[in-house]
């Protein structure tokens, strides 16, 4: 009875490394060690922040978050869970 069919279904969270390039995503969760999570937070990857993958091919990714461009290693991008913004 709460099934609001006019809204699109909630997209599942996926690691940033698998996010479609050029499309804005929202950070859902940070996984990984405590120091690393804090570092990611300090760098702007706080849950709710909007990130967009701008480039990357096999190696690290270039993403924009908080109005600046960051290079994120693939290992790090696996720990950032995001969801596409619709």
């Amino acid at each position: 009875m709460f099934g609001r069919t006019d809204l699109p279904p909630l997209q599942p969270a996926l690691p940033l490394v698998s996010a479609a390039p050029g499309r804005p995503h929202q950070v859902v969760e940070l996984t990984g060690g405590r120091g690393m999570c804090r570092h990611l937070t300090d760098m702007g990857f706080v849950p709710g922040a909007v990130v967009t993958v701008m480039g990357g091919h096999g190696g690290a990714l270039i993403v924009t978050v908080l109005d600046s461009r960051l290079m994120v290693s693939r290992g790090m991008a696996r720990r950032i869970m995001v969801r596409p913004l619709t």
Binding site: G35, R38, A49, G59, D67, G75
Partner: protein, 696 residues
């Protein structure tokens, strides 16, 4: 302000994110009156300078760039420790106005620290060009600290910033705002603060107990460590903190450090919504466009190689004519000194030892200047950070990541700051690997050796290519050694990382000149100090003891200097080493130069200058290049082998010292000496013997 306070200079700490223009602000404030750290390169050690303003003396300290007061890298630790331990009178947080929300994150932590702080809203012109209108007055109210709009490159706002520094110091103005962390977090912060108050820790440490409480809830390892060292009740207190952390995680569903960071961003976003208006969006994203090209998967690496190639071509071709003039100048000076001074020990010391040695090194100033100019350009435009991305995939094959590449690139300028720049690498194994291979990136001190030898034995159009080849060999060996180290001593996964890519900027002429001059001046200073001393020692070792008269009685004028040198200390040492040197095509003269070159690579050139100057039997002064050409021992293959050897073997004493300091043990510097000497010998042997077999 009382008189006693005026006597003491005001200590100002410049803090800020990397790329916030902090160094430009520093240069603008202190002008020429700065004391550059020991070594050229990025700000890893603090840089200090002085400024006079309105009868006040200011002592300005430029701290390494940092994103947070909870350090993630060694470099950030340096910045934080200065602020916490040395208590500057005022902290100036330099903020990039065109990237406000990210940059203000650090500012919120200074406000939490409850110390006198000023925010310098740098690059306000850039922000306006991007269509941002910032209401600095409203922002000042919201943050409760003075916020001064400025443009460090033009000096706009500099006066206001200086006024604010003096005022804040005189009044000891602390932030007038307390950032609230919301109803879930505040009760916990309050209860930890209360416990800290009860202990009376703030009296002991002079640090805001609220800040300590926040850091404890963030599980800041440094603060926890400090607490354990200072107070006996630490364990009990930390247990309470751990309970609070668990409780926060239960109700918020996220770690307290993430929740705290989130509240800081929330505070900033709220303030920016009120004080910043976007008037118009820029039509084209220039940084994005450039990045699409230079980081492209296909052309990215070719573009990088092309830029490197252009750099070396420029250093060689543009540097050549002024180099010739300086060379002629020293030849003239040598001839004048030889004519004025009576023949004997003093004449030999001055003409052969000092002018031959130090002059031989100073000849290369134009090339060194051009090299540093090129590196400053790569750094100031923002391209240097991109190289980390461009090579990331390749670096993974050797078990490192792109971030390790930046210290290596700095290594082309000087290995000492390269070793220090490894502090930005947060993984210990990666850091050690990078530190141990960075010396293989050929530094500017080695360039004079190549220029001398390539210039003497190859036509100008080929010489540049030979030198580029030597640099390339260094890179290849670095890759090889890194691969071996990562497979043996430092095996394991690479740690993930995040790194900011600054927006592209057109460097200012002033900024480029300051960077270039700072580093070139250090080169000149080195020639006047360590190389001067080394030249005198080398001259002494080459001329003493003199052979007894009965030995040199029958010598012809050509034979005499050769016999004298062979009889000297240097000659005897080199004779002992001859079995090692001969398979590489080296004689005692080269051997002496290589031994002297342990101290610094320019000394190889300085020593050759002295050796060949002494060797000039006919007293007719000729340049070192011609002297080398007329030496039968030398031919192009020997020259190349010598370049290869100089590229690889022990970088210099300063590098050994800095590796010792950075690793805090003698193990790695000794390892570095051992492996570079062995590798130098093996590769030189292959080059020389292989070359001879091929008929060169």
């Amino acid at each position: 302000m009382s008189i006693s306070e005026q006597d003491q200079p005001i200590v100002v700490a410049l803090a800020g994110n990397p790329n916030s223009g902090k160094t430009t602000v520093f240069n603008s404030l202190t002008g020429a009156r700065q004391h550059v750290g020991n070594y050229p390169g990025v700000t890893v050690e603090r840089k200090e300078g002085h400024a006079d303003f309105d009868g006040h003396e200011l002592h300005v300290v430029d701290l390494p760039g940092t994103y947070s007061l909870t350090p993630y890298s060694l470099e950030e630790l340096v910045a934080r420790n200065f602020v916490i331990d040395e208590r500057p009178d005022v902290v100036v947080d330099v903020v990039d106005a065109s990237n406000l929300e990210r940059n203000l994150y650090l500012a919120t932590q200074f406000i939490e620290l409850d110390i006198p702080v000023i925010i310098a809203l740098n690059m306000i012109d850039m922000a306006e060009a991007q269509g941002l209108r910032i209401d600095a007055e409203l922002l000042t109210q919201l943050f409760g600290v003075p916020i001064i709009p400025m443009v460090a490159t033009t000096g706009f706002g500099k006066r206001e910033l200086l006024e604010a520094m003096v005022e804040v110091t005189a009044e000891r103005t602390k932030p007038r705002v307390t950032i609230s962390f919301g109803s879930e977090l505040e009760p916990h912060i309050a209860s930890v603060t209360e416990k800290l108050d009860d202990i009376g820790l703030d009296d002991q440490m002079g640090i805001s107990p609220r800040w300590l409480a926040i850091k404890l809830l963030e599980d800041d390892a440094e603060v926890v460590k400090d607490l354990r060292e200072r107070i006996p009740e630490a364990e009990e207190l930390l247990e309470g903190v751990a309970r609070a952390r668990r409780h926060i995680k239960e109700i918020l569903g996220e770690d307290p450090e993430i929740a705290i960071g989130d509240r800081r961003y929330g505070f900033i976003a709220g303030a920016c919504r009120r004080a910043v208006v976007t008037v118009k969006r820029p039509k084209v994203d220039i940084t994005g466009l450039i990045d699409d090209i230079v980081t492209n998967r296909i052309v990215g690496i070719p573009i990088f190689l092309l830029l490197m190639w252009l750099m070396f071509e420029m250093v060689f071709t543009l540097g050549e004519p002024p180099m010739g003039w300086i060379e002629a100048g020293f030849e003239w000076l040598g001839a004048v000194a030889a004519a004025w001074l009576p023949p004997g020990e003093l004449q030999s010391l001055i003409v052969d030892g000092i002018i031959g040695g130090v002059g031989g090194v100073l000849v290369f100033i134009p090339n060194i200047l051009l090299l540093f100019l090129a590196i400053a350009f790569i750094e100031d435009t923002g391209y240097m950070a991109r190289t980390a991305f461009v090579v990331d995939r390749l670096m993974h094959y050797i078990g490192l990541h792109g971030k390790s590449f930046i210290p290596m690139l700095i290594g082309f300028g000087c290995t000492v700051p390269a070793v220090m720049a490894t502090r930005t690498i947060d993984d210990e194994k990666n850091r050690l690997t990078t530190m141990l291979v960075a010396p293989l990136m050929s530094c500017s001190a080695r360039l004079p050796v190549y220029l001398l030898l390539a210039g003497a034995f190859f036509a100008p159009e080929i010489a540049g290519k030979v030198i580029f080849g030597i640099y390339l060999l260094g890179v290849l060996l670095a890759i090889l050694v890194a691969l071996v180290l990562r497979k043996s001593l430092f095996s394991g996964e690479t740690t993930p990382f995040v790194m900011e890519l600054p927006p592209y900027r057109l460097p200012t002429l002033h900024g480029l000149l300051v960077h270039t001059w700072e580093r070139t001046w250090l080169y000149i200073k080195k020639a006047g100090t360590i190389i001067l001393v080394a030249s005198i020692i080398v001259w002494f070792a080459l001329t003493h003891p003199a052979p007894p008269p009965e030995l040199s009685a029958g010598d012809s004028p050509e034979q005499a200097p050769v016999h004298a040198a062979a009889y000297s200390y240097a000659g005897r040492i080199s004779k002992t080493l001859e079995p090692l040197l001969r398979p590489l095509g080296f004689d005692w003269k080269i051997g002496t130069s290589l031994i002297a070159g342990f101290a610094a690579k320019e000394i190889v050139v300085a020593t050759m200058g002295t050796v060949y100057s002494l060797d000039e039997a006919d007293e007719q002064d000729q340049g070192l290049r011609e002297a080398l050409q007329s030496d039968p021992q030398f031919d192009p293959l020997v020259a190349v082998t010598l370049m290869v050897f100089v590229l690889i073997y022990v970088p210099c004493l300063a590098v050994i010292a800095v590796v010792r300091k950075e690793t805090n043990s003698w193990k790695w510097p000794l390892f570095l000496i051992g492996y570079t000497c062995a590798l130098a010998w093996i590769v030189s042997f292959i080059v020389y013997q292989g070359g001879r077999l091929l008929g060169f």
